[in-house]
């Protein structure tokens, strides 16, 4: 099938699915009513069976039947262990109002990090008592090689990342801690597979990423990594990437398309874990469509599947600002209430600033996710989110500049400077006042 034809079909069918639901989402209410979430899940199964996934490399469509997608939805592992020895954690499917704590795996996900700071920056996350695992940043260089995609440098960088990240785990006193979405320093098959060479990542301590591309596209890359993961027994850190404002117009369409893509992804990877992010185009910038979309996606899945979901927090604002801490907390809260099994990421500056993330952003998402566990009143959760959004908008007006890791940490001791500790305390105090029920 011609890709243009597929693109048109996926949009026309998506609009039909949305029109059939005829739901107007109240964007002031971040966590939606349960019946809305259930209807979206059903629509996603129908939609997924209708459009399938497009393989860019073969120009063919991978078609799944409705029965196959339903089977996938109901045969995921509701829990699995990852990590080694005393640091092994059990990732368990959670649900709205669940009192059990989500697993905490923050990290400077995808942030470019220089070799010089790679170990201490990750250690700033890994050493925190709340943290059970980490998701890494991207090495900018290794042994003189620049990180250039689709070159042999990817192999060198991915292998070096694996060595350094496991060194971080040892330094943190958690040598068997799980390492999520690895490798981050390579995106092509040779680099990804090289990271699992002897001395590198192992099936027992890591999760390998596979993402359906926007527009429900995959290629041989996805199938290669899925085959590698299954042969090696590596759990998949899966995602269907949907850009809101492009193929999908609004939260309902974004949720339908994402879930359809995720079910198809799990059908060919046999994966048991999904991470999620709502990526808006330039036209949609406010938090209003993003947060309700995330909460809707989480609720639709946690109500209709026994599935381990990862909430990926993160901030547009730069590191070591109050705005970044508040934004990270905001992005961690609603999905954790809605049933996230793992809270992760926690980077700043949209993950694009070299060395521009710190463990303190990871700390705030862990504490927030732990606080969210047990919040079982939808109205109360929505009230808290509303308060935090208002607080963030006010903070945003202050135009804080932000800092990089070496500017706000004592790098030798891997400790935040007093000024940053003070800022953290203030942000947490404000968030507590906004209603987040921190445990301590």
């Amino acid at each position: 099938m011609d890709v243009k034809e597929f693109n048109k079909k996926l949009q026309v069918k998506l609009r039909e699915a949305s029109a059939k639901l005829n739901i107007k989402l109240n964007l002031d209410e971040v966590i939606p009513p349960p019946d809305v979430a259930d209807a979206v899940f059903e629509a996603a199964i129908d939609y997924g069976a209708e459009v399938g996934l497009y393989n860019n490399d073969t120009s063919r469509v991978l078609q799944f039947s409705r029965a196959e997608l339903i089977e996938t939805a109901h045969t995921r592992k509701p829990e699995f262990n990852i990590g080694e020895g005393k640091d092994m954690v059990t990732i368990r499917a959670r649900h709205f109002g669940d009192k059990s704590l989500p697993v905490r795996m923050p990290g400077p996900a995808g942030v470019p990090i220089t070799e010089e700071y790679y170990v201490p920056l990750h250690l700033s996350y890994a050493k925190l008592p709340e943290v059970q695992g980490i998701v890494p940043g991207c090495l900018t260089t290794a042994r003189g090689f620049k990180n250039l995609a689709a070159t042999p440098a990817e192999v060198v960088l991915a292998m070096q990342e694996a060595r350094l990240l496991q060194e971080v785990a040892r330094w943190a006193g958690k040598p068997g801690m799980p390492l999520g979405e690895v490798p981050m320093s390579a995106m092509n098959d040779p680099g990804i597979i090289a990271a699992y060479a002897p001395g590198g990542y192992r099936a027992t301590n890591s999760l390998i990423p596979i993402q359906v591309y926007p527009g429900l596209k995959i290629g041989w890359h996805h199938l290669n990594i899925a085959a590698f993961a299954q042969e090696q027994g590596i759990e998949v850190w899966g995602m269907a990437f949907v850009v809101m404002g492009a193929f999908a117009r609004d939260p309902i369409e974004t949720a339908i398309k994402t879930i359809a893509g995720e079910l198809a992804l799990m059908s060919f990877t046999n994966g048991n874990l999904l991470y999620s992010a709502t990526i808006p185009t330039g036209a949609i910038k406010s938090y209003k469509p993003v947060l309700p979309t995330e909460a809707l996606k989480f609720l639709a899945k946690t109500r209709n599947m026994e599935i381990c979901l990862v909430c990926t927090a993160g901030a547009v604002f730069k590191a070591a600002t109050k705005a970044s801490l508040i934004e990270n907390a905001l992005m961690a809260f609603a999905p954790s209430v809605a049933g996230a099994a793992v809270v992760s990421f926690g980077e700043s500056g949209m993950g694009t600033i070299v060395n521009g993330s710190t463990g303190m952003e990871g700390k705030i998402i862990c504490e927030t996710a732990m606080a969210a566990a047990g919040v079982d009143d939808r109205k109360e959760a929505n009230r808290i989110v509303g308060n935090v959004v208002s607080m963030l908008m006010q903070q945003a007006m202050k135009g804080e500049k932000g800092k990089t890791f070496p500017e706000c940490y004592d790098v030798g001791k891997v400790e935040p400077l007093d000024e940053f500790k003070q800022l953290y305390a203030e942000a947490k105090k404000d968030l507590r006042q906004a209603g987040i029920p921190f445990k301590y």
């Binding site: 243009k4 693109n7 048109k8 949009q11 026309v12 609009r15 860019n56 470019p112 991207c138 900018t140 620049k146 990180n147 250039l148 995609a149 689709a150 070159t151 990817e154 320093s185 390579a186 995106m187 092509n188 591309y213 926007p214 527009g215 290629g219 890359h221 850009v243 404002g245 492009a246 193929f247 999908a248 117009r249 185009t281 330039g282 036209a283 949609i284 694009t352």
Partner: protein
């Protein structure tokens, strides 16, 4: 019958009505250049503007581009050779190692809607393939898209290769994508950078006009 009605029908993506209005205007002896500029071009530009405002989405852009493809052949035979030329020829590519194409596709649709002839090279293109394509189609502009920090250096590689081949001044090179900034574009010696698809067209328009490329 006015060109305004044609523009409005296109903006509303009413294909059959737009086609009928264009034919009627031509049969009534209206100036084809005016039909093109004041009717079709204005209408398709309005489609692009609506996308920029978040009122239209990819499907509408695609429909707008298809409508333009249908209407232009009706008018073109009645234009002078000079009038029927595109604003410029653009080679658009996602660079080597990068498998993300949604941003590039948006720019392509916006450029097509704005009167450029665009050659879409898809994803994961080695630098020399892009340069060879630009030579082959006698491009005015090379557009390079990359999402990731590990793939944006490949944008610089294209520019470096152009310099080494003595071709740098022959092409306008614009870059874009998630991890790029104006600072990055300046650093690698690109001629322009756009934050999104709408701005990309404005940047290219300006650069093409300044260089006197295209027409």
């Amino acid at each position: 019958m006015s060109t305004k009605e044609i523009a409005e029908a296109i903006e509303q993506l009413e294909g059959a009505k737009a086609e009928e209005l264009v034919m009627k205007a031509l049969n009534e002896g209206a100036n084809p250049w005016e039909i093109l500029q004041e009717g079709i071009v204005k209408g398709i530009k309005a489609v692009g503007d609506k996308f920029g405002k978040g009122e239209y989405f990819l499907l509408e852009l695609q429909e707008g581009a298809e409508l333009a493809e249908k209407l232009l052949p009706l008018v073109k035979p009645r234009l002078t050779t000079d009038q029927s030329k595109p604003k410029g020829t653009v080679v658009m590519a996602t660079v080597k190692g990068d498998l993300h194409d949604i941003g590039k596709n948006l720019v392509i649709m916006q450029l097509s809607l704005n009167g450029y002839k665009v050659h879409d090279m898809g994803m994961d293109n080695p630098a020399m393939n892009i340069i060879n394509k630009a030579k082959e189609v006698e491009a005015d502009v090379i557009g390079l898209s990359a999402l990731l920090l590990s793939t944006i250096p490949a944008q610089g590689e294209v520019i470096q290769n152009l310099k080494e081949l003595g071709l740098r001044d022959k092409y306008i090179v614009v870059v874009g994508g998630g991890a790029t900034t104006q600072k990055w574009a300046t650093q690698i010696g690109a001629d322009g950078w756009g934050v999104d698809a709408v701005q990309a067209v404005a940047v290219i328009d300006q650069l093409v006009e300044k260089k006197g490329a295209g027409k």
